[in-house]
Symmetry: D3
Subunit: 338 residues, 6 copies
């Protein structure tokens, strides 16, 4: 019985070391990650219990993913075993004006071939308080989308709060398909999480001009308002990334509820690893809301948590509750702790 | 225009460093290889020209494979671009009583989805003298098998000698399917290359007991004789591996023609990397036969070449003609060269 | 509730990479290990449940040890938290005539300062079938020895079989003290495990001349017989290491019961990492006896398991049941598995 | 037949990893580079054909340089083989207020001992459109300077545009000697490329104060004007580096022709590897001018190209045409590409 | 006979590579360092002779520390051998808003168990001109504090100038104990070095608010004045760190004497390794004062020296006199030196 | 004042990691070594004092060589500074039938350009007991040969014993030149050290057939006898290497004096790094003879010392007196020391 349930794909992450481009790297750093697994790790780090549900083949590559999650304290007993391969993503770390580059090799993965009925969702949600998934999961395949729906319905039945991070991936599906599938699922979502581009990509609801690096608060409130009007979300959280370069970002977020928005403090981040930044935000937000923080405190906790993630290699946000709290309370000086 | 043409799959090879098992490795060594590419590299190293034909997607992972081959001097201009992914194989290096372990993630690769007509074989074989492929290529898919047949027929028409290394892979196809497909193709083969198990797996022709580590010359002559009787091969080459352990092997080979067999010198090898050992043998044999060596000299060149391969990390046999000749002439002392 | 309970010290293992001597190494490989933790990992790998009990401080260095065990499937919920430091051992890997060198920095570790009453042994042994410890644990401190006795008595009360590996460490205590303490504990032991030197060091019972590399079966039977006479052990297992060099060992073992000895097959091992070899033997033996193997089958399983350990970096024996079975059934050829 | 011909020295580059100083590094990263080779790589990356001409000994160290260029698509068939050694440069990467440090070990290299007549320049320039060299080549030796002159004359005869990057290196020759030799060669140059210090070092034509970090546009126009007056260059390109620190630079450039100057956009760069920055500018400029860009578009392409180079380890600018175009068109946000 | 004598603890430093957190690191970078050893290395780098006095056990871990110091030119002949272990500190490098984290494992080290009388201080100070220690040494143990006093008295007797860096470490002792012990020792100190927090922690003398990143000159003058009033220090040096983040700091210092303060230039530093920053300041200051610089020149030399330290991995400031002079004279551009 | 003086070249050693061939290595391991420096390190490791004399330029590459020797305890104060470069040798580690490959880049090194008069030999030999050089030093250049002669004469005058290791290097000089120069120097040598090929290469005195791997004792006695007859050496030591492969060697030696030969125990070595094997033998022999061992004990100490060297990466024999003694006394079991 876990507080938080997440469902999605975990992939092998093969990253070039340092700032090497793909054709220079003598070896690839091997870790694992994926939006929903990343959120489960975050929740556990703050003291919640969490279970990650997915489908993985029986081979060494998948078993290591499971062992690492288990080592981090994430429940893995509901993972379905089957299929031929675990998805892979290749990562080349960018710097300055050169963007990081993700290449997916995730087609035909075990989770993409999942079928409704393979997971016993009633069992999974026993005692659970929160269910989280991202827009990547229904994008994997039609059957994966069906399983997301199946899960949401079971969660609803069990009285579990549902959050979804829109997380639009253009290489997985078209905007048209995303809009069609996600609009159906949206009605089951309580807390909608998005970045500054997702709302437009997935629901055609337009936000601010993002490549400029300038973020207008008003525009985001409008977007959140429209989302709530259309889909009846209880809360909408939007992360606000100011991409000065691949090495430096401004990072803040807004939490919107009942026509009222809270904007968090903004961090000026020197980036170590930006992948998983959004997931660490979702993990922080879920934790903060579950422990009963008000919206202002919750959005600041979530942003502090994800600020730290940008300084840690790999998808997972390897931080403690104390570290996030210290930053959320204002100590961003980075002084040596001894 | 190249002397030698090879056709098959090249994969990304992701190997754990040192003797680490899969679940211990912080990173994976990245190289490329595949039976037919390995043979092309060998041929070029001895001074021949060689072209490797395959199908690869347009992405960084595939482009690096091409660039590396081009850097080594292999012709890559006939490679067809298309498809979604390059195949991968994961390698865990064994030692002593623990075997090396290869896990394939090659389904749905670009070459598996090749179709007849995509390669202009008449163009490819212009000026060529030798065509080499392995039993892996027709095992990839039915269409790949068709393209092998298409290639062989074009080669025959162009008067090009054809060699094939049986290279049975049980994870790619059943013995039944292998036997059916390979028997059809066998009639187009001039030089058949096999290890001590392949003849039985592919053609049901039984060889000696191999796990014992003892190799009986007579049994191999019988196998070769039966193969020639059945498929009219001009020459049959069989590699004889005595697996004392993952760290130490005896290595020799036999070349059979017209009822007469030549057995090579046998090397006692301390193994650095055994993968690609058979391919380096084929590469050495093709070179030696193309330059006109008699069977005795040819089989000794091929075995010396492949002996050296076992000492070199990666699939490719990175040796010079001079190094192979020196070993073939008897200097196996390993004294420091300065 | 776990099948197997082990109790002892887990240390940070800091090893020079490759064959570098201490004063050459730019970095140290970081893993964890210790006799009883190693045995727990082995048991879990074969399908048993196992809990490792120890005392560890609340810091990053200790937490990682716990997380890694948890990731491997070992139960860690009975670990007592407290104390100032986790023990460390430095390892320099030897080769050929140069021996591997272990330097301990384990004084004042959390487990050395454990006190009777800190572990709820009755709770720990609920449902357990086997309790294992080594002679290192009582050597850590007088209070640690008291806790071993406390544990053994609780185990006996719970009807749990007790095994102990004598594992004499001359840097931890004198032979005199070892003999005094271990003789008291010996009466609680059902299965006594030793190497060819331990019986003499710990109990003054003399074995064969070991530096010669020659092992006399008769002498070991005598040693086992004397041990049984004196301490009423149900079984005595002795590992027989022939140290040809740091790179090559002969490895076999004897299991003795009721005046009858079974000698296992002997393996000629090219060594990758010899540390933990004895623990992997104990782990294999416990598993085999728990599943009901007869002595001959059990000793061969244990020796095959530990043979494989010598090929794997780190203390833990990262093998599967299938791999051990395959070797125990005779396939020591080390052929590539694909 | 290649579009672009470059001529100069390629060296082994041995760099300390990370930010380690020379006396800390356990190993040295091995790559290759040199002004003219770097330019050839850039041109090929944008779709041109390019040949790099040099002189290299017959040994493993030189052969690898050739193989890597060939792998990247650079023509190497005109490289003269001979001499005793390939030049080396040692690189220590700086950070913040600590400058990167280059130590040359290039005396007596094969190219320094080249003699007129060794390269068949008429053959080299068949079908070529552009010839590029840098001020380093004539600085290597008197005979190298003669071969530069020989090459320029052949290029002129063949109607090939000639560009030269002044690239003054004070450890190779004095300002006096540079001025004497370069003034003779200057009349053969069509496009003169320089950084903010070169014009003064090589031709005694004074530019702006550079250590201040402030760049005055007017001063650069004056310098370019004087250069054109004196040597009749068709175009003069000057790169404008604002060295805030070894970790952060401002980077822009000016292209001057017929009394009119175009200044590019300026980039604020977080530096990964600054070596080869000027060469990547030259490569971008040659490409842009060869495809017919006007001066404004050309200088912006060249600066965008070289901006990206600062983010890539090694001398070569490993970018695609698409990546440079995207940056030149204004997307400097460094957002993750997936 | 050495110009400078320093006395304190040298530790093994085990740091995670890159920005990895403790639970991610496959290996730990191994170097050595400690406040007083770091100062000795700095002094030698500028051309002084220096001896480092400590107590170290006879094992490989300690011998390497000595060999490295000797290799760098530091005198080690007065090091006392004895004790059981060398102290260790674990370091996790922070970035941006995530602080670096130091975990000590130094209890029971050889130096903590030193006793008065073990060092022949009269011999040590023969011909010496300067004695430096830090507040860490007396914090190690009561006997270590006694030995500091013993050393200071011998130094005074020999007419040697004494400097001490307050260096308060809250994990070693309480503020109360520090204040008691240090107040006794303070009267023997000529030059007191502190950072912006130490004066308050050790002597209860309050400085400016430091987490804000803003530094008020006046407040520091007040602190220095109070220190001089109370303890009769000849000079007080205070380093002023503005911690914008773990990746970027402002860095300057003040030197106060006779009621007059000199403030140095301030550097904006992109941090590579911040540990040892204060020690490199002390080393620079001692050198500058020993060669007779006036306070203004001395404080600027010391700050330039320590600015460079922030760019160098490891505790030691591996710079030359020329490099520090160049920066102190104003060249902070970080331009490549070739 | 040092017991032992050695004179020769120290080079940067750049080795491919693992068993990678030159064209595969992403980086090169950086260490230093050279025959005479290696001998000095050995002597110091056994407790003698030793000074290494050479000529080195003033740059980072040379300074590190000096610092490392100093760190190991070798005296470096007589090293002459000057010249342009430190020599380099590239090393590719062989395995099994593939030989290790050394490529020199040592022409024009500082020591090759040394001139008579640059070293104050009378000063150097004050208090010395032994002078050692190898045949490499006079092979570097005519002036280097003159300096060897100058040194030998000063050593003779000072009553210092002189040993020389013939160490023929065919890439440095022809057999004819070696014979001419070395014959002149031979009369100054007391102890002549050679391997099984040197005597023939340098003096035309024929030894046994070496590539066969079989060593005939009688033949070596004959060679030694002839050397003594011709050059009046007091002792002749010949190392006997049986090269089974690059991974496994038999290793023993003979010491001959007054018509009587002592043959050492023979070791069967699994090779880690064979370079410097002969130098470690010389170092062991010098130590053993200096402490007064008889020939039998001396030759066994020297062979045990050099046996251990084969297990240690890098040129230097990083062993203790205790370790060599233990092996010389017969413990070659390689058992873990704890």
């Amino acid at each position: 019985m876990s507080d938080v349930i997440t469902f999605g794909e975990i992939m092998m992450r093969l990253a070039t070391p340092g700032f090497l481009r793909w054709n220079q790297a003598p070896h690839l750093e091997l870790t694992y990650g994926g939006g929903e697994a990343n959120v489960a790790v975050s929740c556990v780090n703050y003291g919640l219990t969490a279970d990650f549900v997915t489908r993985l083949p029986k081979n060494d590559m998948a078993q290591r993913a499971i062992n690492e999650l288990r080592g981090l304290g994430v429940g893995t007993s509901h993972i379905v075993r089957g299929g031929e391969r675990i998805g892979i993503y290749f990562l080349e770390s960018g710097a300055s004006q050169r963007a990081s580059k993700v290449t997916y090799d995730r087609a035909h993965s075990a989770i993409a071939e999942i079928k409704p009925g393979e997971v016993n969702w009633d069992e999974v949600f026993k005692g659970a308080r929160w269910f989280h998934w991202t827009g990547i999961t229904p994008a994997l395949s039609d059957t994966a989308a069906e399983v997301v729906e199946e899960a949401c319905e079971a969660a609803k039945k069990a009285g579990v709060t549902i959050s979804a991070d829109l997380n639009y991936r253009k290489k997985l599906w078209s905007k048209e398909k995303a809009q069609r599938v996600m609009s159906d699922l949206a009605e089951l979502i309580d807390v909608c999480i998005a970045n500054e581009e997702d709302a437009e990509s997935v629901f055609g609801i337009k936000g601010a001009e993002v490549t400029s690096g300038k973020i207008e608060h008003r525009q985001y409130e409008e977007v959140a308002g429209k989302l709530v009007d259309k889909f009846k979300f209880k809360k909408v959280a939007i992360t606000l990334r100011e991409s000065h370069s691949a090495s430096r970002n401004g990072w803040s977020a807004m939490l919107y509820e009942n026509g009222k928005s809270c904007f968090s403090r903004k961090y000026d981040i020197t980036i170590v690893d930006r992948v998983g930044g959004g997931d660490s935000f979702a993990g922080g937000l879920i934790y903060a809301l579950l422990r009963g923080d008000d919206n202002d405190k919750a959005i600041n906790f979530a942003v502090a948590a994800s600020c730290l993630k940008h300084t840690i290699p790999g998808d997972y946000n390897r931080v403690t509750l104390e570290e996030v709290e210290a930053l959320a309370k204002g100590d961003a000086s980075g002084r040596v702790q001894r």
